[in-house]
Symmetry: C2
Subunit: 100 residues, 2 copies
C-alpha cells in the first residue's frame, strides 16, 4: 500500500477554535474535487475546543504535495495563519484496515 | 453530528511493531461486520516502526463502547497486551469534512 496519511494538529489561539474549524471545513470543500484526497475530516479534541485535528488520507504522498500547490488552498492557508498558535503533524504509513 | 472518533496510539515494545500491526489488522477484520464502525485504519508512524496509530470513526460513542463488549474483540485485546508498552488515546468530536 502506497497511501499517505497524516494527523494534523492545529492549536488555535485561545477562543479561536470555532473560527479555525469553519476555515478548515472550507479547506475540506476545496479538496472535495481532488481525486487523490480520500479523507479530510475535521475533528475537535474532546478535552480542548482550541485543538483541531485533521485526519488526512491521500492516494500517495505526491497527491498530498500536489494539493499544497493549489492556489485556493494556499490562499486559505494564509487566511488561517492568524488563528493558529501551533502545528504538530503526525505523518503515517497506512497499512490496511476498515474503510481504506 | 453525533459521531465519535479516536486516534489510538499503541507503542509496541522495541521490535514488536510488525507483530502488533498484524494483530490490529485482525481486529479490523473483526470489526468489518460492526455496522457502527465506519473507519478502523491501521497506520505506522513514518519515524518509528513501533508506533502504531489506529484511526477510528464510529457512528456514535455508544457503538464504540458496545464493540468493547464483543468477546472476540476482548480476546484479541488480551493477545495484544504482551506486545504493548503504552497506549495514548486522543478522543475527538468529528465536525465534518471529506469522507465522513
Amino acid at each position: 500500500m502506497n497511501k499517505f496519511a497524516m494527523y494534523g494538529k492545529l492549536t488555535a489561539h485561545p477562543g479561536q477554535g470555532d473560527a479555525l474549524v469553519q476555515m478548515m471545513l472550507e479547506a475540506a470543500n476545496l479538496l472535495d474535487s481532488a481525486e487523490g484526497c480520500e479523507l479530510y475530516i475535521i475533528n475537535v479534541a474532546e478535552d480542548d475546543p482550541d485543538a483541531i485535528w485533521v485526519t488526512e488520507l491521500w492516494r500517495d504522498a505526491e497527491a498530498h504535495a500536489e494539493s499544497l500547490k493549489n492556489e485556493n488552498v494556499l490562499a486559505l492557508i494564509q487566511r488561517c495563519r492568524p488563528l493558529i498558535a501551533g502545528v504538530e503533524p503526525v505523518k503515517l504509513r497506512p497499512v490496511g484496515g476498515k474503510g481504506i
